[in-house]
Amino acid sequence: MSIMIIGAGLAGLSAALTLAEQGTACTLVSAQASERAQSVMAEGGINAALNTMGEDDSVANHVADTMRGGVFLADPNAVRGLCAGAPAIVEKFYALGVPFSTNQNGIIQRNFGGQKKKRTAFVKSSTGKMLMTALIDEVRKYEVRGLVKRLPHHRLNTLHIENNTCRGVTVTDTFSGQNITLSGSVILACGGMSGLFEGLTTGTTQNTAEVAALCLEQGVELANLEMIQYHPTTIGISGKRLLITEAARGEGGRLFVNRSGKPWYFMEEKYPELKNLMPRDVVSAEMVAVTARDDCEKQVWLDMTGIKKKVWQSRLSDLRAQVMHYLAIDPQRQPVPVSPGIHYFMGGIRTDAAHRTSCKNLYAAGECACQYHGANRLGGNSLLGAVYGGKTAAQTVLQEAQPIDPIAPCADIYREASPRFRAAVSNILGRYLKILRCESELLQAQSELNALEPSAQNAAEARLLRLAQATVQCALLRRESRGAHRRTDYPDTDPACQKQTVVNRTNVFYRDIPKETE
């Protein structure tokens, strides 16, 4: 059995470790070393109903919050598996050395958005980096034992798909330009589609959306592309959007806008139960609404000055250092100006609960896959989804993988979209795929993207453009408001649209969500 994993962030590493622990070898391909993957940037924490905070938490509560947060667009069976698997995952990271803080009941957890219980395990606001360091070290053990072979500066060049069956990949060494063709089963773990919105996201420049574009070209189905999460508290810095983790609000930070000269804590007034910790889609939309009012200023502020000194020291020292470095504001003393920014892609490569894509022998996990988060992801659920998804995909491959005949080496030169072409695509998507959308603007986006077609210089640019067009098509198809997709022309949630938008090479259509099984 031969298995290739494309991507070495949390999802890819988790898949590789799962295989290696079963004695199965894999090739782990990534554009850059694992230390550079977006997963290291994750801050606030990872969710699991560990029930260590005396709040009577349970897997059922975690499932309920995740389904409600995703506005019932996620696969309920997959979500049940995710939440049930979560406690063991966090415990495993503790055994691997992640320095979670503990109390007499176990690992301490914090409040996070959209969740009614303290369920988010964390290490200050560097959780992703801590998980990644521990996992990289653990996978290293199997590298030395010959079970994990890394190709750490290699980009996916071609997916070899025939008759809707994946037979392998060609990857290109970006250092030497050499191609390597490998036959076998393939797990895609290549992260979110930040490359569609260059300079406009909180994420990495490494996740160029090339793989999703290749999938679409090869006829692999993508789903819910319109579901793009705007995180409420981001700030534009040189070249990107800087995230202020939700942990800032989990630990007591408050949002306000000046209304008629006085601070108005609008979230607390409108949502007395979860207040500033409503799901991200709700907070971002409220920020747009209050700043559009005549009696309010245009700027929303995050006030963290009430957070106790001890909490700053023990739980948020890294956040404070970051804000001081990039913004020259001490958040312990002064409110910070924030606005919503693109942060996460709920949509992506469509998978079933076992992480199979629409194409045989091809699997997907982590942020590149459309799974678990429905119309809006809860903070702390994506680190979990990446680890659990990678593990599940690997387990499925172990059950199903068949020997595959070697494929002929492929000499196609690796091409990428030029920075200028990317910037042109991002510019259009950034202007029209906003928090609030409407048909006329989406049609305008479509015509501007169509007008770019003649300027595509190579296949990579044509593919990227096609992916951008597909994203707009999904947004046009969904004539309702749900989670991250808010239409001013269809402001209500329509039960008839409780479906996935699916796009393939030729069509965009709705597909039913699996029914809950017992």
Partner: protein, 235 residues
Amino acid sequence: MKLLIEILRQADAVSAPYRQTIAFEAQPEDTVATLLTELNTADGLCDTNGKPVGTIHWQCSCLQKKCGSCAMRINGVPRLACDVKLGECKNGKLLLEPLRKFPTVRDLIVDRSVMMENLKAIHNWLEQHAHHSQKAADLSYDASRCLQCGCCLEVCPNFCADGSFYGAAAFVPVSRVLSQLTKDKPQELSALYKKNIYGGCSKSLSCHAICPAEIDVEQKLANSNAVAVWKRYFK
């Protein structure tokens, strides 16, 4: 601000390097990383001799000091391109060069694989469940922050890519694992540490001063020595 940018360029691993100077109008609050992005998207950019600049190859990922990808020599000092603001270039000059201790791949990109190879060679992993202690928690956190950027190796007098001394980029991550071991289950890591780190370090601590993640590198060295050499495990 008017900026005169000199870049040490190289078409590929075997070609001869050459210097190229570009005059560019830049914003002092922008970082070197943003500048490189702008140079690469600028229309028909030419150098001071009128020669087209073309794509300047460099690496980045997080753009916020969290991934170590963008390390390069900036005005002669190894730093992260996403960390350095252009306003720091007081005389209006900016010199960009690839790190020297690693083989150049292309322009500002170097091959730092040796860092990962060294961590494999020294067996940096846990063979057992981590032993957690209050004292080790802060150390583990700080050590786990290492970006594998290589800045510390660039300034280390004793590190070279084909040598047997691994430097701070190894002992910082190693200190995390060492702090989580127990006396009754020693690992090969300790012996390898003595051979590839303890024996070769002259304790000048240039690595401590340069670390862009501001890791307390000195403390990691002291703690690693305590466990690996003096068998003083964390309780």
